[in-house]
């Protein structure tokens, strides 16, 4: 979402290669993430001119590419692959380590380390296709297999000087807490010196929500903090973790409410959370740091102006608002305009079939549906998911409930109006849209004109709004 909003990356030639590593083959949130990354990729191909670079003032300005096509000339025309596949996932941990083939002594050692019962919380007999169910002691073994996977080997062999890595993980689950140190170790031990010596950034997300109590579930938020302390103690002594150039930490001690307790699979779809948004800013921060900045390993924590609960835009510092939140505000205006205003302004010039041809979905029905779906996803993410105090600390940011004006779109930052000043009224928005669209070059492809129009109009809305709360 940050990249879609046009958050500025200070370098022209950056491309981001997202990689998801999750053994939970059907995880609902993983599927959602995959879909939105693919949508971003497709939208950028259709709506953004190739000359736009990450430091441009534009939505979707930063390219993302597939880890699977790093060495191909037609990489940008391929579909986006974002997930590493683990081999032999649909099996139990016992089969994975060939427990039945071990001699008795080794079997006994294994059974000391892992619960071999078949109750509701198996360890040795855990089916790996649903992830590690909060067991990093299992994950740390399985993850070692990643080094032999074709995906990792491809990634390793194509890693060049100047490339960087950023690892995002949680510390209180199974996959992140085991995968993170294993990944760092694999990279620092690589035979490809570019990878071994690269700048590595990472964010380790500590507990920020609770789950409902369920005795049958392997997930218990009462021990999240305990797991966190254990993992942090391990990290503190691990030479590979200590070699990370920029390690970011975040957590939230205010955790009202509780999420449904779903161990994994399709049903694990949690609402977005402001901690996740803030975590994402660490990636941008890391990319924007120079190599000299990263020479000495350092750690970072996030600071806000106020400890608001619920959290609002005014609680962020000026720096955060300027670097990140301002762009989300632009995108919020654009989303609202695209979803609620453009389809209704049928008599305006920009709507005409000889201009943007909105009735005919800009001439790219598939692309148009994707971008509207993306805007809709953004709108739900900000105004519904992060707004929900059942999922932990709520973040109240934008209000998309009105289609007559945008004066109240920013929570806590209402635009003042008067008798002769209606602010961001529907007619004002129509005027800005038409002016911006008509000003675009005649030979520009229609989808690019559409997104440019939205960007410029959203930018003007933000300017008219003035200072953020």
């Amino acid at each position: 979402m940050l990249l879609a909003s046009g958050v500025k990356i200070d370098k022209k030639d950056v491309s981001i290669i997202p990689v998801i590593i999750d053994t939970d083959a059907h995880n609902g949130d993983t599927a959602r993430t995959r879909d939105i990354l693919k949508n971003y990729y497709d939208i950028r191909k259709t709506f953004v001119n190739k000359a736009v670079t990450p430091d441009s003032q534009h939505f979707f300005s930063t390219p993302i590419s597939s880890f699977n096509r790093l060495n191909q000339d037609n990489a940008e025309n391929a579909d986006l692959d974002v997930q590493f596949n683990f081999q032999n996932q649909d099996t139990t941990f016992a089969n994975f380590i060939n427990h039945s083939g071990l001699d008795q002594v080794n079997k006994d050692v294994i059974e000391l380390l892992y619960n071999d019962s078949l109750d509701e919380h198996p360890e040795l007999h855990l089916n790996l296709s649903v992830g590690f169910k909060g067991n990093p002691n299992i994950g740390s073994v399985v993850f070692n297999e990643l080094a032999d996977s074709p995906h990792f080997k491809n990634f390793e062999s194509n890693f060049t000087s100047g490339d960087r890595v950023f690892i995002i993980s949680s510390i209180f689950g199974g996959t992140g807490s085991s995968g993170f140190p294993t990944l760092v170790k694999m990279m620092r031990s690589s035979t490809n010196q570019n990878l071994a010596q690269t700048n590595i950034g990472a964010i380790t997300v500590m507990p920020y929500f609770n789950v409902e109590t369920d005795d049958k579930s392997a997930i218990n938020s009462a021990i999240f903090d305990t797991k966190t302390k254990a993992a942090l103690a391990y990290y503190a002594d691990d030479k590979f973790i200590k070699s990370i150039n920029a390690l970011y930490y975040i957590s939230d001690n205010k955790k009202p409410g509780a999420l449904p307790n779903v161990e994994g699979g399709k049903g694990q779809v949690n609402n977005g959370h402001v901690v996740e948004l803030i975590s994402a800013t660490s990636i941008i921060d890391f990319i924007n740091r120079s190599d000299s900045d990263l020479q000495t390993p350092q750690a970072f924590e996030f600071g806000a102006n106020q400890d608001g609960n619920p959290f609002t835009i005014k609680d962020f510092s000026l720096t955060t608002k300027d670097k990140y939140i301002k762009h989300l505000v632009h995108f919020a205006y654009a989303s609202s305009i695209a979803l609620q205003y453009v389809p209704t302004l049928t008599k305006e010039t920009f709507y005409d079939k000889k201009e943007l041809n909105i009735d005919n979905s800009l001439g790219v029905p598939n692309g148009y549906q994707k971008i509207l779906a993306f805007f809709n996803e953004f709108s739900n993410w900000t105004s519904k998911e992060m707004n929900d105090s059942n999922s932990g600390r709520a973040f109240i940011s934008f209000n998309f409930d009105t289609d007559q004006h945008l004066n109240n779109m920013i929570h806590g930052g209402e635009l003042k109006t008067g008798l002769f000043n209606k602010g961001l009224s529907k007619s004002k928005i129509a005027e800005m849209l038409t002016r911006n669209e008509v000003n675009e070059p005649k030979d520009m492809p229609i989808p690019e004109k559409y997104l440019n129009m939205l960007y410029k109009t959203a930018f003007q809305c933000t300017s008219l709004k003035g200072e953020l709360p």
């Binding site: 010039t349 005409d352 000889k354 201009e355 007619s427 005027e431 038409t434």
Partner: protein, 128 residues
Amino acid sequence: MQLSIFSTLYEFAIGQNQDYPEYDEVVFSSVGWLTLAAALLIAFLFYIVLGRMKPIWHHTSHWFITAFLTGILGFAIAFALSKDELQISPDGYLIRFACFNLLYAMIYYFICSLLLKHFSIFSKRTPF
């Protein structure tokens, strides 16, 4: 040459008036030029002034209303100038002349629309 263009247009529509040669000598030319200028001015106001300033009068329905008002103005120009020049009570010929000038005014407005719409912002695609 200028006299004959408008004379041809009007006499084609309503025929010659043998009783009042002033139509052919004076009235047709002055009404013709004034009507054309009025249509151009109105189209200019619609497309260039209002059409670039604010989207308040730019829809197709507004265009049709403006075209109709231009026609009314054309009628009024023909009626008033004829009556003033000839000092007569309105007769059938005068009324027919005014009615056809209403139609010509709307046609002039349509032609000026085609020429000026591309310079507009909010009326660029009005009426098509």
